[in-house]
């Protein structure tokens, strides 16, 4: 009980100090905003598709296929800007050449039998050519093109059905030609997520929160060591555990505030919606922080100076950023890297957050991650707290 009172004194003092420190306060708010905006620009969403050159080969050139091309030309995704600037090409090889020369960021090939097949109520196929040198853009382009084609195809299907219903078309039309008269075939595509930003957002949030807590904790302790104020605390009869837990608490509160900022930004700026429970998201963040606190304590116990602490932590953080699946799915990594990824607690926090935020998963689906994070926290704390106690009075 006394320990709880003591640790609260420490946490309260830390938060008050922090609130008064204008510079630290500014960076505290700027950092997540900056990160989100940066990531938002590097990884485009559909809104960023405008004036993108694509090549079109229309070997059919009948009214139906011209209609398809027109609907591509007319498409606007961001304001009044056309999404695509369509350039004509003579054949699929010419499109591939165009992509290689980076004249266009993708292409569409409509075969010569396109209209005929539709007229004969057969299914027909168009080909979307992808620019694999630029996966982020081409993924977006592909999605949009396929959507247009599907929509167009749907309209044709409706017309067909109407014709059947009024008896103008023969009833022995194939089901396929009604359901999907035009089949879009993607070539050279890595299957991707519907919105890359939705994939990245939970990772960014977890990363910002956890690194902030980690560096914040170590910096806070080493700053007090350097300035000598830690002696003022150590000379009091309060439990050493209360000191470190109080500091961890104030850092966690700060981390959660930052997490909330990231979430709000993701929601208002980038249209990311949380499909699962917000409470579960908060709980996972707290647990993620818990899994990291031990490491933070260990580093701050070992490092005598603030700078050493920061550098030591950077060594952990840098590989963590790439291996924990913030930016790419872990399944896409080589198997050794995958194994490393699985000893990083951030990986589990991100996986769980992603399940909840993107897929709307409930507690049951993240139970394993929950447990692993808990174990991580307990193990690192049982190691680091005695080390801290020992080191603090050399």
């Amino acid at each position: 009980m006394q320990t709880i009172f003591d640790l609260w004194q420490i946490a309260k003092k830390d938060l008050l100090e922090f609130r008064r420190d204008r510079l630290r306060l500014i960076t505290f708010f700027i950092m997540p905003i900056f990160m989100m905006i940066m990531v938002g620009f590097i990884f485009p969403n559909q809104n960023s598709i405008k004036n993108i050159s694509i090549g079109v080969v229309n070997q059919d050139n009948q009214s139906v296929s011209q209609g398809l091309v027109e609907s591509i030309i007319d498409l606007k995704l961001s304001g009044d800007n056309p999404a695509f600037v369509v350039k004509d090409y003579s054949n699929i090889e010419a499109i591939k050449d165009g992509i290689k020369k980076q004249e266009i960021s993708g292409g569409l090939f409509i075969p010569s039998d396109f209209s005929t097949k539709i007229a004969q109520s057969e299914q027909t196929e168009v080909t979307v050519v992808e620019d694999q040198s630029n996966p982020q853009i081409s993924q977006m382009v592909n999605q949009v093109l396929v959507k247009i084609i599907d929509g167009f195809s749907g309209q044709l299907g409706q017309q067909k059905i109407n014709q059947i219903l009024v008896g103008r078309a023969s009833a022995n039309t194939s089901a396929q030609s009604i359901m999907a008269p035009i089949q879009a075939k993607l070539i050279g595509i890595i299957p991707g997520n519907p919105n890359y930003f939705e994939f990245v957002a939970p990772g960014i949030m977890a990363m910002i929160v956890m690194t902030a807590v980690l560096t914040g904790l170590a910096a806070s302790i080493s700053r007090e060591k350097e300035q000598g104020t830690l002696d003022g605390i150590l000379i009091s009869p309060i439990n050493r555990l209360a000191i470190i837990l109080g500091k961890a608490l104030s850092q966690s509160i700060r981390g959660l505030i930052q997490g909330a900022i990231v979430l709000l930004l993701a929601f208002f700026l980038f249209g990311v919606t949380v499909h699962g429970s917000l409470l579960l998201v908060a709980l996972l963040l707290i647990l993620g922080i818990f899994s990291f606190v031990g490491l933070g304590i260990l580093v701050s116990a070992i490092a005598t100076e603030q700078e050493t602490a920061t550098q030591l932590l950077f060594m952990f953080q840098f590989p963590m950023l790439f291996l924990s699946g913030v930016f790419f799915p872990i399944l896409m990594m080589p198997s050794i890297m995958q194994k490393i990824a699985h000893v990083i607690p951030l990986t589990y926090a991100i996986t769980a957050l992603r399940k909840v935020m993107v897929l709307g998963a409930g507690f049951g689906a993240v139970r394993t991650e929950f447990l692993i994070l808990l174990i991580f926290g307990v193990v690192t704390l049982t190691i680091s707290v005695p080390v801290f106690k020992r080191v603090i009075t050399k």
Partner: protein, 270 residues
């Protein structure tokens, strides 16, 4: 007379370097004990061990009969510390600082108020209580820092160079304050590089050099050791510790051509 502090064969090693070497001395109740020595002699290290901040490598020390290693919590109740670095948070007001440190000793709010107001008036800091410490001059900070150290109503006050970097006015005020505290029964361990200050305040003086006690006596008796007419304490100090400068180079302190173990180069900055 009873001793408030008893130190016996106290030693502190940092790696192979012996910062405090087999030091023994006693401080009597209600006395001001001057603890002098050149830079790097081991004064602060000794104070850190006595105030439970550093674990001795060997030897014993007791404060009010409580062992500084085994009875840390008992010891902490009896001591106040003004360390080399000012123990206050710049972003907190003087009042908030005092409240925070008071709370660490589990003092109720009104008790903290009562205890600090007693000293704050004497040190002329009343009107600055609600200003942030970061806006204070060194002298103002040190005055609040002393009040902080007195929150526990200590039996023994450790003052590690309390007047360093202060103007003559503040120095004068603080010296008077130390004497007044002492008159009220507080024992004081004082380190300073100001020989006049040491002479003016101390009942007894110990001189430590290279981690060892080189002399320990009253000012009067120490002066008899200097082979000089009407010696000052400075004459005595130089006679005992020699005139070589303690140079800190590349993490080692060099004196008399010898090299002594690794040390921190930032040993003397404020």
């Amino acid at each position: 007379m009873e001793n408030i502090i008893e130190v016996k064969n106290l030693t502190k090693k940092f790696g192979h370097f012996t910062a405090v070497d087999n030091v023994s001395f006693n401080i009597r109740k209600k006395e001001i004990f001057g603890f002098l020595g050149p830079n790097g002699a081991g004064k602060s290290t000794t104070i850190r061990m006595l105030t439970t901040l550093l674990r001795p490598t060997s030897g014993d020390a007791t404060i009010a009969s409580h062992d500084v290693v085994k009875k840390q919590d008992q010891v902490r109740k009896h001591i106040g510390l003004v360390a080399e670095k000012i123990i206050l948070y710049d972003h907190l007001t003087a009042r908030e600082n005092l409240e925070f440190f008071g709370r660490l000793f589990h003092l109720p709010k009104d008790e903290i108020k009562r205890r600090s107001e007693k000293w704050i008036g004497k040190l002329h800091m009343t009107e600055w209580l609600n200003a942030q410490v970061g806006t204070f001059s060194t002298g103002m900070k040190q005055r609040i820092n002393i009040v902080r150290a007195l929150l526990t109503e200590p039996d023994i006050l450790f003052l590690d160079e309390p007047t360093l970097g202060l103007d003559p006015q503040t120095t004068h005020m603080i010296r008077g304050f130390i004497r007044e505290l002492n008159n009220q029964g507080v024992s004081v361990l004082l380190t300073t590089h100001d020989m006049l200050e040491a002479e003016e305040l101390s009942d007894r003086i110990a001189i430590i050099d290279h981690g060892k006690i080189a002399a320990s006596d009253t000012v009067e008796n120490l002066k008899k050791r200097a082979q000089k007419e009407n010696p000052t304490l400075e004459d005595v100090f130089l006679a005992i510790t020699g005139k070589e400068i303690r140079d800190v180079t590349n993490g080692r302190v060099a004196t008399r051509g010898h090299m002594h173990g690794p040390i921190r180069a930032n040993n003397r900055v404020r």
